[in-house]
């Protein structure tokens, strides 16, 4: 039953869609989103392959709780410790935000390692995903440095001395080692300048780098596609005994599914 829209309805629809069309005309976002959401992934992907999304989630938790903490934290040796106490004891739900940031950091690190282990197990770092792996390793290193810079911020005894030794070790390095050491320290002793520098690195420089690299990482993941588990009998890209064309070996496992009816025969 063909319903013809009244001119009025058409007008309303056009008005509502106008901003979307405006945006799409300039960015192509509609096609981009459509591709992102409805692109196919191998049908045999498994739960281990959600570790990347889990890592991203832990990072987002760090970003959100970090922004809130920065509203109350004071990067100065005289008040840093007290501001942490204030956040924990006085600010509404401050303990939760600080606790999530603190434990989220550990979760982020653990998940990065697990995610890397999964990629290693699947051999997913091989052609053509080498660059995705390299950026992942850079993310791991930056994430560890983010942990190191954040550790000093509460300005407590353990963190202070661990940072003293950490910077000394850094300054040991050949070539640029002493240079980086003195930049981190910002003076002869670890003090207000060091704390300000760690704060700035922890809040601006490193998170900025992490976000940029995560963006490239995700772009590459979407562009190159995710691998099938290598032991899967129906792995995408598996070698066939016969010729390239899909043959009888697939019959009975799953029907060749045209786009749009992919739910048939899909287990997961």
């Amino acid at each position: 039953m063909a319903t013809r829209k009244s001119p009025r309805q058409q007008q309303v629809e056009a008005a509502l869609l106008y901003p979307v069309d405006w945006l799409d005309e300039r960015t192509g976002i509609r096609a981009g989103l459509q591709y992102f959401l409805f692109r196919n992934v191998p049908r045999d992907t498994n739960w281990m392959q959600t570790l990347g999304a889990a890592t991203l989630t832990a990072f987002l938790v760090q970003a959100v709780t970090g922004v809130i903490l920065a509203m109350y934290y004071k990067p100065d040796p005289n008040s840093a410790y007290e501001s942490i106490k204030h956040i924990t004891n006085d600010v509404t739900l401050g303990w939760l935000v600080r606790g999530m940031h603190r434990w989220g950091a550990s979760c982020f690190i653990i998940l990065m390692f697990l995610h890397m282990g999964r990629v290693f197990l699947f051999g997913a770092y091989k052609y053509p995903r080498e660059l995705t792996w390299i950026i992942g390793v850079m993310l791991l290193a930056l994430g560890m440095i983010e942990g190191f810079t954040g550790y000093l911020l509460p300005w407590d005894e353990t963190a202070y001395w661990a940072t003293v030794v950490g910077i000394n070790i850094q300054a040991n390095g050949p070539f640029v080692g002493p240079f980086i050491g003195s930049i981190l320290k910002g003076g002869a002793e670890i003090g207000p300048e060091t704390l300000a520098r760690f704060y700035s690195l922890h809040m601006l420089a490193i998170p900025g780098g992490l976000m940029a690299l995560i963006g490239i990482h995700l772009f590459l993941v979407v562009r190159l596609g995710i691998t099938s588990p290598p032991w899967s009998p129906v792995a995408a890209g598996r070698e066939r005994d016969g010729e390239e064309a899909p043959t009888a070996d697939r019959v009975g496992l799953v029907e060749p599914t045209p786009r749009g009816s992919a739910s048939q025969g899909v287990e997961k």
Binding site: L37, R39, N40, V41, P42, R43, T45, T50, L51, A53, A54, L56, T57, V61, Y81, I84, K85, T88, W95, R98, G99, R102, W103, S106, C107, L121, G123, A124, Y125, K126, Y127, R129, E130, W133, V137, L140, M144, F148, D156, E157, Y160, W161, V165, G166, I169, A171, N172, P174, P230, W231, G237, R238, E239, P246, V254, P256, T257, S263, V266, K268
Partner: protein
């Protein structure tokens, strides 16, 4: 076919397979991802809650609960209780430094091995260029991976359970040291010994059987037999890396000239246990 051509053919076939028999990201994969995301957030909230509600507030600090105390004592650059302990994910590096001895090979532990590991990780896709992805048919990669996991796990565990020198226990050992080293009649050296025991020196250094051997710190039992002199010892304590470049030891200038003199006298009086 060259291996690059084979790789390209593999990926082409992969793309075709995914297009023909794959499932759309939305809703299938996205559902799994979203479920996992909820789990991650829930775990983080759970940890934060357990941390807060099992640690009890006592006066200035807190008693540790299941997940440790809410805060340590405030940092004091002039403090003498020196216990450097990084966050847990640095324990493996922290403990690695015990294996190397100052001054010959400690640079290997501080800079060498971590840099080499990072380079190997970055270069992995270019080292392992075989097309094979199945774990059981990549024995070298799997064994190397397992060895790395076991090594890092062991080092992390050892770092987590490493014994720390307790200042009060160390101080009670001072008379024993004096008897062994024969400086009991020197009040300056005795004062230095007590200071040495209380200032956390034993967190890293070993002295007549006490102490930690952390961060590649040298044993000091026979420090006085090296003939370096009290002035050198004071200079070194004021700024270790100025005297021995590359030393990770913190500066102890904050202790004051008087205390440094005592410490230096004590070190010079330590000619080796008898």
């Amino acid at each position: 076919m060259s291996s690059l051509e084979k790789n390209r053919a593999d990926h082409k076939r992969y793309k075709e397979d995914v297009k023909r028999e794959g499932k759309p990201f939305f809703p299938y994969a996205l559902f799994h991802d979203s479920f996992m995301q909820v789990v991650v957030v829930a775990v983080i909230i759970g940890l934060a809650t357990i941390w807060k509600w099992t640690a009890e507030d006592v006066g200035g600090g807190t008693n540790p609960g299941l997940l440790g105390s809410l805060y340590e004592e405030k940092a004091d650059p002039g403090s003498t209780s020196f216990v450097p302990r990084p966050d847990w994910y640095y324990y493996f590096l922290f403990y690695l430094l015990r294996i190397f001895k100052w001054p010959d090979s400690v640079i290997l532990g501080t800079v060498g091995i971590p840099t080499i590991l990072l380079m190997l990780l970055l270069a992995l896709p270019f080292i392992d260029r075989r097309r094979e992805r199945h774990p059981l048919r990549r024995p070298v990669a799997m064994i190397a991976g397992i060895l790395v996991i076991v090594a890092m796990g062991t080092l992390t565990w050892k770092g987590a359970t490493a014994k720390e020198a307790v200042a009060s226990e160390s101080a009670s050992a001072v008379p024993t040291w004096a008897a062994k080293q024969g400086f009991a009649n020197d009040p300056v050296a005795m004062a230095g010994a007590t200071l040495f025991a209380q200032s956390g020196c034993l967190t890293c250094h070993v002295y007549t059987g006490s102490g930690g051997a952390n961060l590649g710190a040298p044993e000091l039992t026979a420090e006085g037999s090296k003939g370096l002199g009290i002035d050198w010892q004071i200079k070194h304590l004021e700024c270790p890396s100025c005297v021995t470049p590359g030393s990770p030891m913190p500066a102890f200038k904050a202790l004051g000239a008087d205390n440094l003199k005592k410490l230096a006298t004590f070190l010079e009086a330590s000619k080796g246990a008898k």
